[in-house]
C-alpha cells in the first residue's frame, strides 16, 4: 500500500519561499495517503499560473493544461475513466478569470471531481497584476489608482450556482485542509475547495497575518450544519466570504456519471471498440 512518501517526487517547486501553495501540495499528498489511494489511481489536472504547476509536484498522473481549462480537461478525463480520482487545480486567475465559465458549468454538471483553487487574490506568475478576487481599492501594477472593480466572491458564486460540495481552506491550517480535501474526494459529485494561499511576493495586503486576523472557522462554529443552504449563504455574506471549513454539502445529488444513459461501468480506455454488427445494421436501416 502506498504511503505519504509515494506521493512525493524529487521535483523542487518553482514557488517562492513561503508561498501558500506548498501547504496545498502537502495537504493533497497527505489526504491521498490517508484515503489509501495508490498514485496511479489519481490524476491531477491543472491550469496555468504558479499554482498550475502543482500537477507536476505530486507523484500521481498529471496533466498541465492550457490557461483556464483545467476543468473541462479534467471532466473529459473523468468521462474516459470514471474510476480515477480526478483533482483539478489552479489559481484564482485561472479558475475565476479566464476559466470562470467552465467553473459554473462544472458546478452545474456535478461530475465527481475535486477542484482546488489556490486563491491569492493576485496574478503572481505574470508579476503582480490584479486578479478577479482582488479587493476594491487594491493598488497593484495594473491598478495604479486602486482597483475600481469589485472582487468576485467564489464561495457565494459557487453556492448560487448550485454546488454540491463547498469548502474553503487556508494554507496556515494544513490539518484542516487535509481533512477538507479528504472529504471533497469522498464526496460523490463536484467539489470546490477554495484555499486562501498567500502570495508573499506580490500581495502585501492579503498576507498570512491578514487572513489569520480575518477568517472565521465554520468547522468550529457551534451548531453550524453544512447541509443548511441558507445558513451557508448567511455565513458567507456575514463574513464577506472570509470563512474556512466545510461550508456546504448536498449528499442527495447524483454525480453526472451516474445519470448518463447506458454509460459503461468500465473505463472507456479498455472497452472493446468494435461496433457490434447488429447495432450497425440497425443504424443503417434508418437511412434506407
Amino acid at each position: 500500500m502506498a504511503t505519504l512518501k509515494d506521493f512525493r517526487n524529487e521535483i523542487r517547486p518553482n514557488w517562492c519561499p513561503g508561498c501558500g501553495d506548498f501547504s496545498v501540495q502537502a495537504a493533497i499528498q497527505r489526504a491521498l495517503a490517508a484515503l489509501n489511494k495508490e498514485p496511479h489511481e489519481v490524476a491531477i489536472v491543472s491550469g496555468i499560473g504558479c499554482s498550475g504547476r502543482i500537477s507536476g509536484y505530486v507523484n500521481t498522473y498529471g496533466f498541465h493544461a492550457v490557461h483556464g481549462r483545467s476543468l473541462p480537461t479534467a471532466q473529459g478525463l473523468k468521462l474516459a475513466n470514471r474510476h480515477l480520482t480526478v483533482i483539478a487545480a489552479g489559481g484564482d486567475g485561472d479558475g475565476f478569470g479566464i476559466g470562470l465559465n467552465h467553473f459554473i458549468h462544472a458546478v452545474r454538471r456535478n461530475m465527481d471531481i475535486t477542484y482546488i483553487v489556490m486563491d491569492n487574490q493576485i496574478y503572481g506568475l505574470t508579476k503582480g497584476q490584479h486578479s478577479p478576487t482582488s479587493a476594491t481599492g487594491m493598488q497593484v501594477k495594473t491598478t495604479p489608482h486602486g482597483n475600481i472593480e469589485q472582487a468576485l466572491k467564489p464561495t457565494q458564486l459557487a453556492l448560487a450556482a448550485g454546488i454540491s460540495f463547498l469548502a474553503q481552506g487556508f494554507s496556515s491550517d494544513v490539518n484542516q485542509l487535509v481533512s477538507l480535501i479528504q472529504a471533497a474526494i469522498q464526496h460523490r459529485g463536484f467539489s470546490l475547495i477554495n484555499v486562501f494561499s498567500p502570495c508573499v511576493t506580490y500581495n502585501k495586503i492579503n498576507t498570512y497575518e491578514w487572513y489569520k486576523d480575518n477568517v472565521v472557522n465554520l468547522d468550529k462554529l457551534e451548531g453550524y450544519q453544512p447541509n443548511d443552504y441558507a445558513a451557508a449563504m448567511n455565513q458567507i455574506r456575514e463574513h464577506d466570504g472570509l470563512v474556512t471549513g466545510l461550508i456546504y454539502q448536498d449528499t442527495n445529488r447524483a454525480p453526472y456519471e451516474d445519470s448518463i444513459h447506458n454509460y459503461a461501468s468500465d473505463s472507456l480506455s479498455h472497452v472493446d471498440l468494435q461496433l457490434p454488427s447488429d447495432v450497425f445494421a440497425a443504424a443503417l436501416k434508418e437511412f434506407a
Binding site: E41, V45, G56, Y61, V66, P72, A80, N81, L84, F280
Partner: protein, 581 residues
C-alpha cells in the same frame, strides 16, 4: 423518356418545405434512382424563403443541376427568386391561393393546393397535394410515395395516413385536369437498387460510432449540430457519452482530457468554433494527445453566412494554432468517404499522436444523397503505440514513465492514467522525455524535432484521386463537395470534345506534394476550383512547392452558393476559346 431531372420546392421556412423535399427524395431513392438534394435555408427558425432542390437521375451525380425542370411554389417569393432557373418551358406548380404570376418562359399550373388539402382533412397537407401533382408529371404511380407516407405518419394513426394518401391522389387528379398530360416529363424507370439516403453529417456520425468513438464533446453550431444530435441518440448503444459543453473551448479541452484518459474522443464544429479551439489544438499537438476535430465549413469570416456554402477554413485548419505542431487534415468528398474518414482520423490521430481535423463543407454535410452501401468490414481500429499494464508490472511507484521518449519515428508509447507503473506528467510547457517542464535549448531542439519528425516526409495513402483521361492537358483540381460538380463538368466538356481530367484532394495535410507533382506532369492548364475568395488551395500548391509546367488558375465562388457543373465547364471553355485566338 428523361434520364434525369431537377425538381425544387420552395416556400416559407417552417411550412413543410423540407419534409416535402425529403418525402419526394426518399421515395425516388427507394425506386433505385440516384438522388441528390440541396437545401437552401436561413439562419432563423420560422419564416424567410427556403427551398429544397432535388436531382433525380439514372446515373450518380453529386451536384445540384444548373437548371430546374419542375418548381413547386408555396408562395410568390419562391417564384420571384427561383423561376429564372427553370428551363424554357419548365413547369411551375403554384398554389392558386396566392394568385401566382410567372415569367413567360415557364408553364404555370395554378392548382388549388391548399383547398384540396383542406378537402382531404387539413391545410398542412398541401405538400402532399403538391407531391401528387409532381408524381403525375413524372409518370410515376402514386404507390411510389405510399410506403414513405405510411412510415412518416404511422405514429399519428391510420386516419392521418389515409388522409395524406387522399391528398396525394387529389393532387395527381388536379394536375391531370389542369392539362398536365400535355407536359408530362416521363422519367425512365430505375432498376430498383436499394441505396442508402444520407447526408455527410449522418455518415460522419455513423463513421465515428464505427470507429470506436466513445466520448464526444461539442457545442451546437450550424452546419455541424446533426453529428452531435445523432450521437446523442446512438452513444448509449455502445456505453459512450456525448456532452453538450458550454463552449467550443470546453469541447476541445474535454476531448483532450478524454483522449488522455484513453477513450477515443472527438468534437465537431464549424468555422467560429474552430477559431475558438485553436489554442487547445496546440495543446493536443504539444502534449501528443490524439484528437479528432470535425470542421463542417460554412461561410465566414466571423458569423459570416451560417447556413451557406463555403470552403474558407483550409488555411486556418493548417496554420491556425500558434507555434508549430504536427497535424493531419482530411477532406472527404462524399458521404461514403465521410464514413471511412472517421476511422482513418482516429487511427491516424492515435498512430501519430496528434490532432486530426476532418473538414467537410456545408454542401457535403447537409446534402442528402443516394449513398452506396457502407460496410463495417472497411473499418479497422488501430490504437497506435500504447504500453500495456503487463509491461509495467515491476516499475517502482516513484519511477516516471518516459511518455516522451525520443525515438527514431518520433512516436513514443502512451500509457493511460490508471495504469500501475505508468506515472508521468503531461504539459503544454516544453518538456523532457518524462514530461517534466524543461526549457533547455538542447532539450527544446530535440523535442521539437521529435514531434515534427512524426510526419516528416509522410504522404498519406489515397491523398488524391484522379479521374478522366490521365494525359489530358487540362486538369481540374477540387476539394470537398466540389467533387460532383467537377465530375459532371468533365462530362460536359467531353461532349464538346474537350478532354480534361479531375484531380481531387482527399487529404490536405501532410500536403501530397509528390502525388500532385505526378498528377500535374502533363498539365498545361490547371484550374483550382474552390468555394472561397482568395484561392487558398491554389496558394498551398505554391507554399508546399508543387512543381508543374502548367498555368495555374482559380475558379472561385464565394457568394454562399455551391459551385455548379456548368460554371466550371464554361470557365474552361472560355479559356480554350482564348487559346484559340
Amino acid at each position: 423518356m428523361l434520364s434525369e431531372l431537377s425538381w425544387k420546392v420552395g416556400g416559407q421556412q417552417g411550412e413543410g418545405v423540407e419534409s416535402t423535399g425529403e418525402t419526394f427524395a426518399i421515395a425516388l431513392n427507394r425506386q433505385g434512382y440516384f438522388v441528390y438534394s440541396f437545401r437552401h435555408f436561413s439562419s432563423r427558425i420560422k419564416g424567410g424563403h427556403s427551398n429544397d432542390k432535388v436531382r433525380v437521375s439514372l446515373k450518380p451525380y453529386r451536384a445540384i443541376a444548373s437548371r430546374t425542370n419542375i418548381l413547386l411554389a408555396f408562395d410568390q417569393e419562391t417564384i420571384d427568386l427561383n423561376a429564372k432557373e427553370l428551363c424554357d418551358g419548365g413547369i411551375l406548380i403554384a398554389d392558386e391561393k396566392f394568385k401566382p404570376t410567372a415569367p413567360n418562359h415557364v408553364q404555370l399550373f395554378s392548382i388549388p393546393l391548399t383547398q384540396l388539402a383542406e378537402e382531404s382533412g387539413s391545410a398542412i397537407m398541401k405538400n402532399m397535394v403538391s407531391l401528387g401533382a409532381s408524381c403525375y408529371l413524372l409518370g410515376l404511380p402514386l404507390q411510389v410515395f405510399e410506403e414513405v407516407i405510411e412510415e412518416r405518419f404511422r405514429r399519428k394513426g391510420d386516419k392521418v395516413v389515409s388522409q395524406n394518401m387522399e391528398a396525394l391522389a387529389r393532387g395527381a387528379a388536379a394536375m391531370e385536369q389542369a392539362g398536365g398530360a400535355a407536359v408530362k416529363l416521363s422519367l425512365a424507370k430505375a432498376d430498383g437498387t436499394r441505396r442508402l439516403f444520407m447526408m455527410g453529417n449522418d455518415a460522419l456520425g455513423l463513421g465515428a460510432l464505427a470507429a470506436g468513438a466513445r466520448v464526444m464533446a461539442a457545442y451546437p453550431i450550424t452546419p455541424a449540430s446533426d453529428v452531435m444530435e445523432y450521437l446523442i441518440k446512438k452513444m448509449p448503444t455502445v456505453g459512450g457519452v456525448v456532452v453538450q459543453t458550454e463552449d467550443e473551448i470546453a469541447a476541445m479541452t474535454m476531448t483532450i482530457g478524454a483522449s488522455y484518459g484513453g477513450a477515443r474522443a472527438f468534437t465537431c464544429t464549424s468555422g467560429p468554433g474552430l477559431s475558438l479551439m485553436m489554442e487547445a489544438i496546440g495543446l493536443s499537438g504539444m502534449t501528443e494527445t490524439p484528437t479528432v476535430i470535425i470542421d463542417t465549413q460554412r461561410g465566414g469570416p466571423s458569423t459570416g453566412l451560417p447556413t451557406k456554402q463555403e470552403q474558407s477554413d483550409f488555411l486556418a485548419a493548417l496554420f491556425g494554432t500558434h507555434g508549430e505542431i504536427p497535424k493531419i487534415v482530411l477532406t472527404p468528398a462524399t458521404p461514403e468517404e465521410c464514413f471511412t474518414a472517421m476511422a482513418d482520423a482516429f487511427n491516424l490521430a492515435e498512430t501519430y499522436q496528434c490532432p486530426v481535423i476532418v473538414m467537410t463543407d456545408l454542401q457535403l454535410s447537409l446534402s442528402k444523397q443516394s449513398t452506396e452501401p457502407l460496410s463495417l468490414d472497411s473499418i479497422r481500429i488501430d490504437r497506435g503505440a500504447v504500453t500495456a499494464s503487463s509491461d509495467l508490472k515491476e516499475v517502482p511507484i516513484t519511477t516516471q514513465f518516459d511518455r516522451y521518449k525520443v525515438t527514431d519515428s518520433g512516436v513514443s508509447p502512451r500509457v493511460f492514467p490508471g495504469t500501475p507503473g505508468g506515472l508521468h506528467h503531461v504539459t503544454g510547457v516544453e518538456h523532457s522525455e518524462n514530461g517534466r517542464p524543461n526549457e533547455g535549448t538542447a532539450n527544446r531542439q530535440a523535442m521539437m524535432e521529435k514531434r515534427m519528425r512524426k510526419l516528416d516526409g509522410v504522404e498519406l495513402d489515397e491523398s488524391i484521386s484522379r479521374h478522366g483521361s490521365a494525359d489530358a492537358k487540362v486538369v481540374i483540381l477540387g476539394i470537398g463537395s466540389n467533387y460532383g460538380a467537377i465530375e459532371e463538368a468533365l462530362d460536359i466538356l467531353q461532349e464538346e470534345g474537350i478532354a480534361a481530367s479531375h484531380v481531387h484532394l482527399h487529404k490536405l495535410l501532410p500536403f501530397p506534394v509528390r502525388a500532385l507533382n505526378e498528377a500535374f506532369q502533363n498539365a498545361e492548364e490547371i484550374l483550382v476550383v474552390e468555394n472561397n475568395a482568395t484561392g487558398q488551395i491554389r496558394h498551398l500548391l505554391g507554399f508546399f512547392g508543387v512543381k508543374t509546367a502548367g498555368t495555374i488558375r482559380s475558379y472561385l465562388k464565394y457568394d454562399g452558393s455551391p459551385i455548379l457543373p456548368l460554371e466550371i465547364a464554361n470557365d474552361i471553355k472560355g479559356r480554350m476559346h482564348a487559346w484559340q485566338h
